[in-house]
Amino acid sequence: MVADEATLPTDLLRSVLGTDAEPSRRVRVGGWDAASEAGRREQNEDAWGHQYGTFVVADGMGGRPGGAIAARSAVEASLDVFTRDEVVHPLDWSHRMGLVNDAVTAAGSRAGHDRVGAAIGIVQCRDDGVVISHVGDVRVYRLRAGVVELLTRDHSVVHEIRAAGVDPAELDATAGRLGALTSFLGEADTWRQHSLRFVDRRTDDRFVICTDGVYRSMRAADWIALSEIRECRALADAMVERARTNSSRDDRTALVLSLAGPR
């Protein structure tokens, strides 16, 4: 059936004409919580934060000094620049991510570090949808109706190799080399590969932002079992605990937020 003007849904026409979206498509943050703990290091080099509907998790790069400073400054700067208004245009978003990068670099310099680095994951719940953005290997998952979906693709060497049509398993490369980041905050141009997109959202969706200290130690069975936990605090705690139980030695952070319908 080929549609014509007469067959267009009235809702679409209303939308095209600029009328606000129906309340049924709107969602709000129903709850959220986070858990974070240090791994083998004395200091936790992960950081997290939220302001209004914007949630951020950052992971300071362990191979560089000042990881904790980089992560904390990345979260603070993100909550500043990404909550000023709801404009999303790629150039605008890129400009703001550049401001975050500047803040991270400046914070490292003030602490006496000339090279700092951090990965970052952002979930922003807005009137017009849910925006996911990340740089590096902080991941965002969506839990919906018992299904766990990874919404981000790491900016890492192994993904570049896969994208080039090469099976990483056939390469004589260590896991460390394959996991090396191709994009991160903290240097002049390394952040430019950042990702941004709107994702589908439904009432009762839950989003998890977590660092590699958590997801690298989570097996599929762990995800399946833990996704049954409905309460945000309990789920965040359980994920961090499960990663620790599974011998994760890295810093572990999980932030969980759940969506609800309009009031």
Binding site: P9, V88, V147, E149, L150, F198
Partner: protein, 439 residues
């Protein structure tokens, strides 16, 4: 085209007018499709031990109550049943879904129906009126099949239903395959009604499918009552499939009739001729379908996934199929750029992207829309088109106007309105495109 008259007249509220029912085309797959005199059932997987056999419930139901018996069986089992879909072919037309099965129609009010996010079944009534509605589940069907009564293995079906005064769009029956219109109204026992009747309408058949010359005691006929287990047992018996019965081929297979019937098939490359296709990390279900690593059940056939097995790198699966207004279909397994004369550079696309040229629709820009594949996700990007793009994510979803150059996630069931009236539909990939041959 057969004619079904409403059986819901008792309460005086239903429309007594008849519906014209076109051929029931069967798609490849490992589920089961059953048809009675007034309903069609699709069950995605075999019932596990302890679960009720939905096909048996369907088969045992009185004519007119098949769909209700199936939903009652599901409710009695606290919905511990496989995903299923049912269509009640009376007036008003009822469409029912449970679980992660997706029913697609071209009716404006129901682009897609799925109960993936629901703990019970969902159902909708369609006012067919004088129009023709196409209802489809699963992959493109085998055009040489037409299930009249009974049950067969299949991954879904496609069926056209027309209102009273609609022009009949369905293929005419060929000689040797009389239409059920010439047959007396069904009044025989359920088992007799459910004799398997899958015929190749493109070829003259020597069997009168209306009078049911097939022996109802054949293994295939018994499957109507016994469900999956008996069907599979019957298919394994040498000679069980009679010459006049064409069963849907297994996943990855092709019936002989399909070689020259690819008009509606996705325009896709073979898996072996593209060594540059990206790799993604995947786990496989017991049927061999690749899945994202965190899943516990197959996103397509709901078969279980052994979570203890490590993920492996596999070539990028076909994530979906898009259907253009002219009916052509394209596999989504790499970046696509859509427009009247798509320019990859203008779309900021990769060099490996494919151009999809659309007919000269005034609402469509030269370079209008980009479709990105990112591991297991599909994103659409409006390329700054003149008339814009609206996304309807699925049944009951409100339209969303896309911000230019901002990727938006889409999934099967979504519809994209390019500049308004031009609709691009995102559909689930055919199951046979998804069996990973490399992994």
């Amino acid at each position: 085209m057969s004619r079904i008259v409403s059986g819901r007249d008792a309460d005086g509220t239903s429309d007594p007018g008849p519906l014209d029912i076109g051929p029931l085309r069967i798609a490849d797959g490992t589920g089961i499709v059953a048809r009675s005199a007034s309903a069609v059932l699709f069950v995605a997987t075999a019932s596990a031990a302890g679960q009720p056999d939905l096909v048996a419930a369907f088969s045992a139901a009185e004519p007119g109550s098949e769909a209700s018996r199936v939903t009652a069986a599901a409710a009695d089992a606290s919905f511990d049943v496989p995903a299923f879909a049912a269509v009640d072919l009376r007036v008003p037309l009822r469409v029912i879904a449970f679980g992660a099965v997706e029913i697609h129609t071209d009716h404006p009010s129901l682009p897609m129906l799925s109960a993936a996010a629901s703990t019970s079944w969902v159902e909708r009534q369609l006012d067919v009126g004088d129009s023709t509605v196409t209802i489809s589940i699963g992959a493109s069907p085998n055009p040489a099949t037409d299930l009249r009564l009974g049950c067969v293995a299949g991954g879904g079906f496609t069926l056209e239903v027309a209102g009273r005064h609609a022009a009949a769009p369905m293929p005419t029956q060929t000689a040797g395959t009389p239409t059920p219109e010439s047959a007396p109204a069904p009044s025989v026992t359920a088992e007799r009604e459910l004799e398997p009747r899958v015929s190749a309408v493109d070829q003259p058949s020597s069997v009168d499918h209306t009078t049911g010359d097939a022996d109802p005691t054949t293994p295939i006929a018994r499957t109507a009552v016994d469900g999956f287990a008996a069907l599979r047992a019957a298919m394994e018996q040498p000679g069980a499939v009679q010459d006049d019965v064409t069963l849907a081929p297994p996943i990855g297979g092709r019936s002989p009739d399909r070689a020259d019937s690819t008009g509606g098939r996705p325009q896709t490359r073979s898996r072996s001729d593209d060594p540059d296709r990206p790799f993604v990390l995947a786990v496989h279900c017991t049927s061999g379908h690749p899945n994202p690593p965190q899943r516990s059940t197959c996103r397509r056939c709901m078969a279980p996934i052994d979570s203890s097995r490590p993920a492996a790198n596999v070539r990028q699966p076909v994530l979906a199929v898009i259907r253009l207004p002219d009916g052509t279909q394209h596999s989504v397994d790499r970046q696509l750029v859509l427009g009247r004369r798509p320019d990859l550079a203008a779309a900021r696309a990769d060099r490996s992207a494919a151009s999809v040229r659309m007919s000269d629709e005034s609402s469509v820009s030269r370079t209008h829309l980009r479709i990105d594949v990112e591991d297991w996700s599909i994103n659409v990007v409006d390329c700054g088109s003149r008339s814009g793009t609206a996304l309807v994510s699925g049944n009951d979803a409100e339209p969303e106007l896309l911000d230019a150059w901002v990727p938006h996630e889409v999934a099967a069931g979504a519809q994209l309105y390019l500049g308004g009236p031009t609709i691009v539909t995102v559909m689930a990939a055919p199951l046979d495109e998804e069996v990973d041959v490399d992994g």
